[in-house]
């Protein structure tokens, strides 16, 4: 390290950051809503700058997500994977284990589930679905367990490890599609076989039963995070591994267990998407949901019920954008831009909940 020293820090900076006492809940909520409002204004300026009426675009977006039964079903279909993945990631994040690998866990869950759909499609429907659910969860769980093992044992950086696993999983699927698992009956372009009817999730009220699974996962994760000793341990490990060890907790085991659960929930998403949504395996099964879910979980402060709310808003925005595209002729990427703008504001606002700026007063004291 260099010993060279710049100007010595004698004078206090003009503006400095200090920690706030904890804000009351309603003030924090008010701050978040204000940030959302500002973000909508910034988004409106963006829409104006491309020559569209922001009010019209915003209303179309919200209406578009609900305008017909079909549109509403579309919104729910977008929401199912996002909600479940966010819930899965939450477990890891509470442990301050930065699981960026939901994409890979979803993909591997889908692969494990697809194995039974493609090669054992002659099982009775309910047995097959059950086996696929379990397989999907094991596939995702094992994918989560791998980085957890190296984190627990050698303190390997989990952000980068899980990120790499996403791409390994993705290419693994391409490998399966082009070779061992290619549909022999499909001429030319290689793809996975369409699943037999036995391997498809049933429809309930016109939407595949994934929504029921999503509600179950939501309730289970809510209870798990709120009332169980296991999740209390997760929170302690997240706060400080040293404290956890001192309190006699088996930190390694907690890391492994939590990451298996986190990955298993994400793997379940893979199963739902191939069985309920696509009806076949594709390498695009995760479609970036694993990344969006990280943001959803974070914005929701890792609280299951807030995740439900935020995932709903995101799904409305995404579904609505496709309607905006057809109505106003702007690109569908509009959703990503608006999402980005809103996120930047909300992420920025978290700062004002925890900290505040202090301006130096005369005499150097703040």
């Amino acid at each position: 390290m260099s010993k060279s020293i710049g100007k010595s820090g004698k004078s206090e900076p003009l503006i400095r950051t200090i920690k706030r006492a904890e804000l009351p809940k309603n003030r924090a909520l008010a701050l978040r809503l204000a940030a959302l409002f500002l973000a909508l204004i910034a988004g409106a300026i963006f829409i104006l700058s491309i020559g569209n009426n922001p009010f019209a675009v915003y209303t179309t977006m919200v209406k578009g997500a609900f305008r017909s039964k079909l549109a509403f079903q579309g919104t729910v279909k977008i929401m199912i994977p996002l909600l479940i993945t966010s819930l899965g990631i939450t477990l890891a994040f509470r442990m301050k284990f930065w699981n960026i690998g939901a994409e890979g866990q979803i993909i591997m869950g889908a692969v494990f589930a697809s194995y039974f759909a493609i090669f054992h499609g002659d099982m009775p429907h309910w047995l097959l679905i059950t086996v696929m659910i379990i397989a999907g969860m094991i596939g995702g769980g094992l994918t989560g367990l791998l980085p957890a093992y190296f984190k627990a044992k050698y303190n390997t950086n989990e952000t980068l490890f899980t990120l790499m696993l996403n791409y390994i999983a993705l290419n693994f699927v391409v490998f399966l599609r082009e070779g061992p698992w290619a549909d022999p009956t499909s001429p030319g372009y290689k793809k996975f076989a369409i699943f037999p009817a036995e391997a498809r999730l049933d429809k309930v009220f016109g939407i595949h039963a994934g929504w029921i699974i999503a509600i179950i996962v939501l309730i289970v994760v809510f209870i798990y995070t709120k009332f169980t000793k296991q999740c209390y341990e997760v929170d302690v490990v997240g706060e400080s591994q040293a404290t956890a060890s001192y309190a006699g907790m088996n930190v390694k085991r907690i890391i492994l267990r939590t990451m298996f659960l986190s990955g298993a929930i994400c793997g379940l998403v893979g199963m739902i998407e191939v069985s309920g949504n696509a009806g076949t395996m594709t390498e695009g099964v995760s479609r970036g949901v694993g990344f969006t879910a990280i943001i959803v979980a974070w914005l929701a402060n890792l609280k299951p019920l807030s995740i439900f709310v935020i995932a709903t808003l995101f799904s409305i925005m995404e579904k609505g954008s496709s309607v905006v595209e057809s109505t106003f002729g702007v690109s569908e990427a509009c959703a990503d831009v608006l999402q980005g703008i809103i996120l930047f504001f909300v992420i920025g606002c978290e700062f004002f909940i925890r900290y505040k700026f202090a301006v130096r007063k005369k005499g150097g004291k703040a």
């Binding site: 390290m1 260099s2 010993k3 060279s4 020293i5 710049g6 100007k7 010595s8 820090g9 400095r16 950051t17 200090i18 920690k19 491309i50 930065w98 960026i100 190296f150 050698y154 303190n155 390997t156 950086n157 952000t159 980068l160 490890f161 990120l163 790499m164 696993l165 996403n166 791409y167 390994i168 290419n171 693994f172 391409v174 490998f175 082009e178 070779g179 970036g288 990344f291 969006t292 990280i294 943001i295 974070w298 002729g329 702007v330 690109s331 990427a333 509009c334 990503d336 831009v337 999402q339 980005g340 703008i341 996120l343 930047f344 992420i347 920025g348 978290e350 700062f351 925890r354 900290y355």
Partner: protein, 319 residues
């Protein structure tokens, strides 16, 4: 492969590795100062669009590169404000930047095409000619050495020059050493009088700018100057992987980029009768990177590891 093919293969690998080299160098600059920016993909996309439009309207290669750099730096500035000043979570902010950046580039491309009323956006011939492989009279004609050293588009040379400059910056200059000190231990650096915030901003923006140039490569060389959506197509994520592979060292990044480039090209050169599926070639860089990551942590080596404070925001009051 005969000898001539091997030469062509090496040259193709170097070209193919160059956009990843830019992304990697940008991310190294960012991580050296303690910030893990997962927005590389987004910054490259924004750089790609800005570079493309600047080239489209001014017909100048140099201005296109500058615009790509500036746009990447501006995108990184958003990340910088949120993570440095507002101390937001680096993972979340970086991912948001990727979603935003890729979306913005796709959106603007669509918008430009519509408002100009054209089917496809294509760079004018003059600028396309400027970014073709430079043919230096005499030198490029030397057998073997000519195609290996003097047959590339200007991006390749620019990438190598930037890598060498960065290696010099981090190892030989006082500023660079200060920056590394910030990345390892910002509190100590602050106590030693180094302006932590200022240098974090400078490095984060510089890193973003370099990523932006990499984005321009994707549209100008890979897509031959025709605008398409999602033009960066995952190269940003490979760059993040390469940072680990290069163990945060700009010089190693050069070789790493060419190895990754070679792996991306290999599938077109190895006869299919060898029987290695294409997906395996694409998977290898990530597998090797994972192994490197594990090895570094098993050995617990401080020398080839991520800067210690990377991913953790610095809060002065808590030092």
């Amino acid at each position: 492969m005969d000898f001539g093919m091997i030469i062509i293969f090496i040259a193709a690998s170097i070209t193919s590795g160059t956009p990843i080299l830019f992304g990697t160098l940008g991310e190294i600059v960012t991580e050296k100062v303690g910030h893990l920016n997962l927005g590389v993909e987004g910054m490259m996309a924004i750089g790609a669009f800005a570079g493309f439009m600047a080239g489209y309207t001014t017909d100048s290669f140099v201005i296109a590169i500058l615009a790509a750099f500036l746009a990447g730096a501006l995108a990184a500035l958003i990340y910088g404000i949120l993570t440095i000043t507002f101390m937001a979570n680096q993972n979340v902010t970086g991912l948001t930047l990727t979603i935003f950046g890729v979306g913005l580039a796709n959106f603007c491309g669509h918008f430009a095409r519509k408002s100009l009323g054209v089917e496809s956006l294509k760079l004018p011939e003059n600028i396309t000619a400027q970014m073709r492989a430079i043919q230096i009279p005499v030198l490029s004609d030397i057998p073997v050495i000519g195609p290996l050293l003097f047959s590339y588009n200007p991006f390749v040379y620019l990438g190598i020059i930037i890598a060498i400059l960065l290696a010099f910056y981090f190892n030989r200059t006082k500023r660079g050493l200060n920056v590394r000190a910030i990345g390892e231990n910002p509190a100590a650096a602050d106590a030693a009088g180094i302006k932590v915030t200022k240098w974090k901003y400078i490095n984060v923006c510089l890193g973003g700018g370099i990523c932006g140039i990499g984005g321009a490569f994707t549209i100008m060389i890979i897509n031959k100057g025709v605008w398409i959506s999602d033009c960066v197509n995952g190269l940003g994520w490979i760059s993040v992987a390469l940072v680990i592979f290069a163990s945060w060292n700009p010089k190693k990044a050069i070789f790493g980029a060419f190895i990754f480039g070679a792996l991306r090209q290999l599938k077109y050169y190895v006869p299919s009768s060898v029987g290695i599926p294409g997906a395996i070639y694409d998977m290898i860089p990530y597998i090797i990177t994972t192994i490197v990551l594990i090895m570094a942590s098993v050995k617990n080596s401080k020398k080839n590891a991520q800067p210690a404070s990377c991913g953790v925001n610095y809060f002065r009051e808590e030092r």
